[in-house]
């Protein structure tokens, strides 16, 4: 029998090891698996490389993971938001590395990693500082830069609906990086608002096929990051 549903957040992330590469879904707070991230803070794995579009807000979620000095390197496209205080401070102090990647290149590197494509050429960043030192090639008279696929040891993803095979549905723009991060990690760990019986999700509308998912954990009422930030909450509570 296949049952990817695990009993607790703690069980879901128990084997994350020091030095792991971890993809974390979300665009700002939309799609950020805040309960999984907080469990990773409790767990304490260090020297992590985190692939995520942003670097979190306030002192909860991804920002709290960074503040807890568990992240040695961020790979992202936009490492600041109106409420990001933690990353800028560590970055200025030289306490965290940054690999800045154009957003579409980040998405395609993740997709490629999950799709068995080691590298690809893209027009984004040609003739800019972000292409310095990278191989370029001309196709049909236009210059392109070589970018490499990324794979991760784990991905932490938030979705709306899952079944025990790991088939997933998302909520609105909280989908963002979730589907491709599930593809690109050896172990994809998903927190779902609801877990339904097999067959309850119409096969025509499954967004992430279960083959890309290894673990599902039920988090019925995930926190709103923006509310926690507005209340100046800090994790650990």
């Amino acid at each position: 029998m296949i049952n990817k549903v695990v009993g607790s957040l703690k069980e879901a992330i128990t084997d994350i090891f020091d030095g792991a590469i971890i993809m974390i879904s979300g665009f700002g707070e939309a799609g950020s698996p805040i309960e999984l991230i907080h469990t990773l803070i409790d767990h304490g794995a260090k020297n992590l490389t985190v692939v995520s579009n942003n670097t979190g807000s306030g002192h909860v979620g991804l920002a709290a993971l960074i503040e807890n000095r568990q992240v040695k390197k961020m790979i992202c496209s936009f490492p600041r938001t109106a409420n990001s205080k933690v990353f800028p401070e560590l970055y200025h102090n030289g306490e965290i590395e940054l690999e800045l990647v154009p957003q579409g290149t980040l998405a395609e590197r993740i997709r490629a990693g999950g799709a068995g494509i080691p590298a690809f050429y893209t027009p984004a960043s040609v003739n800019t500082p972000l292409a310095e030192g990278k191989e370029t090639r001309v196709f049909n008279g236009h210059k392109y830069v070589l970018e490499h696929g990324i794979r991760a040891d784990f991905s932490l993803v938030k979705c709306k609906t899952a079944d025990r095979y790991g088939n997933l549905l998302y909520n609105k723009t909280a989908r963002n990086f979730g589907p491709i991060m599930c593809m690109a990690a050896n172990i994809s760990i998903v927190q779902a608002r609801e877990i339904v019986e097999l067959g309850a999700i119409d096969p025509e509308v499954v967004v992430t096929p279960g083959i890309f998912v290894q673990r599902v954990v039920h988090v019925s009422n995930p926190a709103d990051e923006s509310r926690l930030v507005a209340e100046d909450r800090r994790y650990p509570w």
């Binding site: 154009p102 290149t105 998405a107 984004a124 003739n127």
Partner: protein, 218 residues
């Protein structure tokens, strides 16, 4: 010659309206964060324009009424928006396939600097203390068919933004098609920067005095 810049030219709302008038019916459009977002408020009646936001929505609608915000329905600026009837959601790799793959018709972006050959700098001042953040700008300018810039003509300190050569790190080279500012609308052509329209009270000579790059009259 008028010298008080605040009293001549267009308000940015009027500039946004000019941009909206130049986007044809049926276009797929991506609006950058900030001033470009104003454009959505001025689509002429009878025109249907579909807005794309790179975080995974085609058919972005206006800001929701207070109390109806959904933190999982946001735009690229991470502000709450709505989805129009007929909208669709998709993941990031699909979203940037739309962008790089040439499926979007127009992108309206802000700028730090634009050069006379259409180079755009809008992601970093390159200052050592600045935290570099690029987002989707480099993908957008690489793939969208028409790149419009909307911006104040000069910086807050009065420095020209339309320059011979960008001193800030580039977002992309030879990418801008048209520039809309509070003083003028300027086309980037193979023949140089051609002034398409002057704002009320702005003479060509005055415009040139506020612009480092050489301008041409239409």
């Amino acid at each position: 010659m008028v010298t008080d810049e605040k009293k001549i030219g267009w308000e940015m709302n009027e500039v946004a309206q000019k941009v909206a008038l130049d986007i044809p019916d049926g276009s797929y459009v991506n609006l950058g964060i900030g001033i470009p977002e104003l454009v959505a408020g001025y689509v002429p009646e009878g025109r249907e324009v579909i807005y794309h936001t790179e975080n995974g929505l085609l058919g972005m609608g206006p800001v929701p009424p207070a109390g109806e915000e959904d933190p999982e329905l946001i735009n690229a600026g991470k502000k709450c928006v709505t989805a129009i009837p007929g909208a669709c959601f998709f993941h990031h790799a699909d979203s940037f396939s739309m962008i790089r793959g040439g499926h979007l018709d127009y992108c309206v972006l802000g700028a730090l600097q634009i050069s006379e050959n259409g180079d755009l700098a809008n992601w970093s001042t390159g200052e050592p203390k600045a935290i570099p953040a690029v987002g989707g700008a480099m993908d957008l300018i690489a793939g969208v068919k028409n790149i419009f810039v909307i911006s104040q003509h000069n910086t807050k300190t009065g420095d020209p933004k339309i320059v011979k050569q960008c001193s800030y790190p580039l977002t992309g080279k030879e990418v801008v098609n048209r520039i809309y500012t509070n003083l003028a609308i300027i086309d980037v052509t193979s023949d140089g920067l051609v002034v398409r329209e002057l704002a009320p009270g702005v003479s060509f000579d005055y415009l040139q005095s506020k612009t480092e790059a050489r301008l041409k009259e239409k």
